[in-house]
Symmetry: C2
Subunit: 254 residues, 2 copies
Amino acid sequence: MRALTTLRNCDEIFAEYYTSKLTDASHRDVEAFIGKKVTVLKRGDVEEKDVIIKAARDRRVAFITAGDPMSATTHLDLRLRAVEEGISTDLINGVSIFTACSAALGLQPYKFGRTVTIPLPEPGFLPSSPYENILENRSRGLHTLILLDIKAEENRYMTAPMAMQWLLDAEERIGSGLVKGDSLFCAAARVGSPKQALFAGYPDEILTVDLGPPLHCMVMPGRLHFMEARGLVAFANAPREILEEGVSGSEAKQ
Amino acid sequence: MRALTTLRNCDEIFAEYYTSKLTDASHRDVEAFIGKKVTVLKRGDVEEKDVIIKAARDRRVAFITAGDPMSATTHLDLRLRAVEEGISTDLINGVSIFTACSAALGLQPYKFGRTVTIPLPEPGFLPSSPYENILENRSRGLHTLILLDIKAEENRYMTAPMAMQWLLDAEERIGSGLVKGDSLFCAAARVGSPKQALFAGYPDEILTVDLGPPLHCMVMPGRLHFMEARGLVAFANAPREILEEGVSGSEAKQ
């Protein structure tokens, strides 16, 4: 509600859909809801042309994004440049994939280790760090949120099956035993929207699961508390056999 | 907006303020805003007397919390019990301290390791795990969100200075070198509300900082990207010398 009131009091409103994407509404819906024109910016407008900072020098300007407004480095950079120019800024938080995804699946947010992003395939770019970071989280019993790359300009959005294939390839390349036939993964689509889809299963199932249009993300769970295992079965149709592992596996400390 | 519409369509609305606390509005404000009576439940009503499940057997019932509605185990448990009774449930996400705090400070959310909670002092209960978990995150260059204990029934809320003292005591007891005179900590109060207060500084400063009423939380940063260091200086008044460390320190992988 504070966001809506603030937006209605602004002279100019910008939006971007390149770091995330609306899954619950169209751009027209947003404009109709606010009752004002909203100018959609591309990455270059924000990062190079400085459209927002220029406008904010003499007007009240809002910049809206899908999801939490400060989860992308580019937005932190923008806010810092504004502050350094003496332009006062205010932040109104949104629902973030970082917690909405754990909430949807019934996983406890405090048991997540660092987040990784799996990149869309690019010639000559094949990082090992997503695999290594998930492995490190797993070794501590922690869950990993796996974000999937977005190239909105090219209308390319990584899907859960693509990411699963990436992880299987990484396993073959690196071979530390992170991804096995019976490793549990969660896949989620359009989290937080009424059209949300959730699934938890083994790699061969994730490879072929149809979750519908983007955005997708994944979670590789660490040690599951029994209640979390029950959550995955109830909300994401996980195989019931994980309930037994949940009982025998000891809960992560804390 | 979806929350508001849903609440107005419910037959009965419950709320709890024992896992978190409204910082931006009173209970009366909430009732006035929804235009309906909201019954406040105590922990025992939710966990033992099953007030919500009983009501939901034949009515549309809402249960509202401050912050994200699934960050506390007790809420996951409630939802699971509902599902297991055949009661259909829906989740509407809120802004969570897990991301609002990093956003406010300008820290990148994907660089947080597992979250810890520092408990209010209780006779015979002195866990080492919060200290050990922060240390483990630090060794990987990761930030740690430090949540502070709440005992709403006794009107006891841990503050940042109390938590800082707890960490100094843990350092003396455990002695792994996590907390030194020049270790940087961030303290935050009422995050996300218009009355938010932020501060970043050294232990002796945190011990005496006055951030006003609860809720408080803290962050112990790991390796800072230069942009994150600039954020802490701009938003939390961190000492400018961290900008030099930010330059020389290498960024965490990924």
